[in-house]
Symmetry: C2
Subunit: 324 residues, 2 copies
């Protein structure tokens, strides 16, 4: 049984053994640039952890692990273009380093490349594996569309927000785990529990991300805090605040979240003051803890020895206990 | 055995039976808009013709036919965005009717939707079918990249041009035919002949398109003539002319193809005068005839009765005998 850090090393090794270059180089260089940057590579590690948990040989899932990370990086590449984000992992995004058309086309090619990897290893469950991947991929597009809709949509509810982050973030964790389990012929009941576990930690992970944007330690979190507030982004914190706020506080929040110029530092401070007055931090922490507990219940219930689940327990701890 | 027009009707019927709507509607409306517009739908008809030719049941290939057309329309959607083309099939393109981000994301979803269709019908050859589809898809991205490169690349050779149109246009015809044949368990030799037939008619089709842009009858061709010249597009006509031209003519052509303002009508006329002086029209017609003959030789050699090949003979005639 490989530990989480050994699984992470496997993923690293798999990626280092691949070449993402090709001709025309104008198409492949941005792909190589994106996939060589690394990142946390959580999804492929989860996929392999699931295969291993059910007694499968992780080598059979090797190319699916690369495929899922390739797809994830394709979504980041196109999201960065749509959001006009200048930087990713400390480097210029593809559309800025090259241009918009290069970002569109090399992203399209990466989407196809993900399928190429999935198709590399024949497996008796391949049809089901591919259907799971396809469904997950489409849901991620739906999640991204909801996220874009929310920019101009008033009265986004918490339920709508949770559904958006389920699609945009959580299903890919659930999908990676389910795919990993399919390589090991897990039974349907265990597979469903594992998928639900992935969804719950995906949701918890995103809520923690929302929280860290306001209450995170910049040095540990690796991003400047208050960015979501500056960008008028509808997060779990804002939507909970609007639910709890007095009509006066609510009006002020709406006002603050409608301006994008002026003194942004004062704006961030004032929003955080309202969050504090409403004790939003404990509300979000409670929601995260509930999701975390629900996730663990799912994982506990799976019919495999605890030892087989160890890497996923460890990963859950890492994802949900990032420093505040 | 269904005739070509019966196969075309099948394709039409298949598309009419599908719904491309979904939520969020902002994501699915542009997909429905694109796929409902029709177009010639040559690729799915070819795919079904290949299945039928080898004695297969075309219903087994129904969703692959929809999938290949969905993919083709995805490439048009993203190409129109990259080329900033305002109109397609007499209607505003997606990026103009909605916006650029909608075009990016709904295109991405269409790419995935193509896979969804391919995965709908289990088949003992599915793995090979998907690998053929994946390879073809990636080659189309490569072709599009070469096409974009050529905009700023000097000294494009005829060989480079033929390789570009092979990737951008021809492989999808070859791929559609090969996929259709796989649904009918054709033998490898026949499948290779059929694929090569598709490549040859794809190349011939594109050269005819280049020719029609200059010598086509506007009413029959459905597009304004001289567009490639106005857009400084490197076509087979231009590249052949540069090969045949005197140094003086060559210099003048280079000059004309470097300006995009000024009197475009005079420019078009002057370029056509040079083409005429060099008798480029017969040169292109010869190249098309050679490809056409090579294609027919491939089709003739396939070990099936002529009657089974009739729809493909008819389609070839239609594609290559559009009115000049």
């Amino acid at each position: 049984m490989l530990s989480l850090s050994e699984l992470n090393n496997k993923v690293k090794e798999y990626f280092e053994a691949e070449s993402f270059t090709g001709t025309p180089h104008q198409l492949y260089e941005p792909i190589d640039y994106t996939l060589a940057q690394g990142g946390k590579r959580i999804r492929p590690a989860m996929l392999l952890a699931a295969t291993q948990m059910f007694g499968g040989d992780i080598e059979t899932a090797r190319y699916a692990a690369i495929g899922i990370e390739t797809f994830h990086n394709f979504t980041l590449l196109h999201d960065d273009l749509m959001d006009k984000s200048p930087m990713r992992r400390g480097k210029p995004t593809v559309y800025r380093k090259w241009d918009e058309n290069t970002a569109i086309l090399s992203g399209d090619a990466m989407n196809i490349l993900a399928w190429r990897y999935f198709l590399r290893t024949p497996h008796h469950n391949l049809h089901r594996i591919l259907r799971t991947f396809e469904k997950t991929s489409m849901e991620i597009c739906e999640g991204q569309q909801y996220d874009m809709n929310f920019e101009t949509q008033n009265n986004v509810t918490i339920d709508e927000y949770m559904e958006m982050i389920r699609l945009k973030t959580a299903v890919m964790l659930g999908g990676a785990l389910k795919i990993g389990a399919l390589y090991a012929d897990a039974n349907d009941n265990d597979m469903e529990l594992l998928y639900d576990f992935g969804i719950k930690i995906g949701l918890a992970f995103q809520l923690r991300d929302d929280l860290l944007d306001v209450y995170g330690d910049t040095a540990t979190f690796g991003k400047q805090t208050g960015t979501d507030i500056r960008d008028n982004k509808k997060t779990y914190l804002l939507l909970s605040s609007i639910n709890k706020a007095s009509s006066q506080q609510k009006e002020r929040l709406m006002q603050l979240f409608s301006v994008s110029d002026g003194d942004q530092t004062a704006k961030v401070k004032e929003v955080i003051d309202i969050y504090n007055a409403l004790d939003i931090r404990s509300e979000v922490e409670n929601a995260i803890n509930n999701l975390h507990n629900e996730a663990l219940t799912k994982l506990n219930t799976i019919s495999q020895p605890d030892n087989n689940k160890a890497p996923l327990y460890e990963l859950t701890q890492q994802l949900l206990n990032r420093q505040i």
